[in-house]
Assembly symmetry: C2
Homo-oligomer: 307 residues x 2
Amino acid sequence: MKKSSLTILGCHSSIPTKKFYPTAQILEMKGFIFLIDCGEGTQVQLRKAKIKFNKIIHIFISHLHGDHFFGLIGLLSTFHLLGREESVNIYAPKGLKDIINTHFKWSYTRIKYCIDYIELSSNKLEKIMENEKIEVYTIPLKHRIYTNGFLFKEKISNRKLNMEEIKKIPDINIIHYKDLKIGKNFKTNEGIIIPNCQLTFDPPKILSYAFCSDTSYYSPIIDHIKYIDLLYHESTFLKTEKIRAINTGHSTANQAAYIAKKAKVKKLILGHYSNRFPNIKDFEKEAKKIFYNVEASEPLKKYYLDQ
Amino acid sequence: MKKSSLTILGCHSSIPTKKFYPTAQILEMKGFIFLIDCGEGTQVQLRKAKIKFNKIIHIFISHLHGDHFFGLIGLLSTFHLLGREESVNIYAPKGLKDIINTHFKWSYTRIKYCIDYIELSSNKLEKIMENEKIEVYTIPLKHRIYTNGFLFKEKISNRKLNMEEIKKIPDINIIHYKDLKIGKNFKTNEGIIIPNCQLTFDPPKILSYAFCSDTSYYSPIIDHIKYIDLLYHESTFLKTEKIRAINTGHSTANQAAYIAKKAKVKKLILGHYSNRFPNIKDFEKEAKKIFYNVEASEPLKKYYLDQ
């Protein structure tokens, strides 16, 4: 299985230009593909990143400002034109269903696949998706309109069998493997207890990722993302524009770094840059003064969660 | 004043890709700028073509299939973010206003400029815009949903003064110029009539452009576009896919050429190519067998109406 990773499709704010793509990213985790936000042009960026459209089952929309979802109707239409039959789950604030359905109504489009809207309205951390390998939670953010970040956590998987040691115990049969994988000790026919740790290896480390955009500096985030492996936190402005950040419901690179430091995350990547700053490395420089392991994210760059 | 021209922003159908942009074009005529259709990515193509956003006052949307308008909400939002105050006129079928307003409603956006929707519903040629220099008409097309093409015609302008000849007649004063420009003869103090054609030159030739996409082969178009200077007619398919063209409400290159030939237009450009044909020159080749002055349009290419 591929290593869990995040691919940035767009990491600029508000207005798309020749070089700047609005927010969209792909998280690949335990074989699942999650699309997070979907600014205009996302379907073209997906092609550049060689992501197969039919692998996208779950789409998470943080809020209903255009730079976070204006590419969605185009992507959903393309699914239709490509003959998709598998359903799509869209986790988004109230209103998105109305917008999408208004489009389909006026173009007389009858899509052949099903869209399940999971309407988000809570202002607390809330589990919104779970399967056998992953859990996804909302992270309430503080912006001009109702906005969520998202926390993606791998579930702990089974222990790995240590076949070399297992073969030394003739009583162990294939039917015992299931119990060993979930951590049970083994009792031989003579009644000797062999501890599980002697017969298995620890499971792979579980990884986690949090997406926090758009938001003001908002300290309640910290508790929700403690010790995670990778954090994407918006840094629309540099601290020279701190007042503008407050007035528009955004953060500075400096503030993003404080959140990362206080949450003790492994790595921070920045994004949602305002077009007024031509050199995105300036965001990285500012944040590095507070938190060492930080990078200014770039379109089409892939970040592995275990690095 | 710049010569009247058409700039192609996108000329492919349905699905945007790395190379293929959906329908959008800019007509510059007598100093006015008209945006015709607005597929996803149009605002980025406008930047590449160096078109100033605040010059766009009139937007014409042929129909409500996504590849013709999914870029519009992004463009209108960008107008808002750039602080636009001047109003925009949008000529489109019923439904577009509902779609745009649904977006603004859920993002709590209060735009500072005014959008005037001119809702098109006629199935006949209809004058929908007129100013001192230009007239615009709908061209009813035949597609799967209600669709219009658009005919743009320059108005005849005033005659140009022949100053060399005028100076020879001492009785002619600056107050007489207005009458001379609209074609009146001049009567000297002695009562001699000097014919206007001796004192003025013919006005510049009036030019015309027609946009016809999306449409099946539809002969009523011909009468509406007789002798125009430039025709953009869709050619989604080659004639090998004639049945598919009929079933989907589109045309072949061959059919577009027949329309151009029968209407005796000066020049035909093709577009709205299906992605299934990698080489757009194949459309040109097919059409050329019927109509000589034809070109397969390309993104960011400019076509002058008087050539």
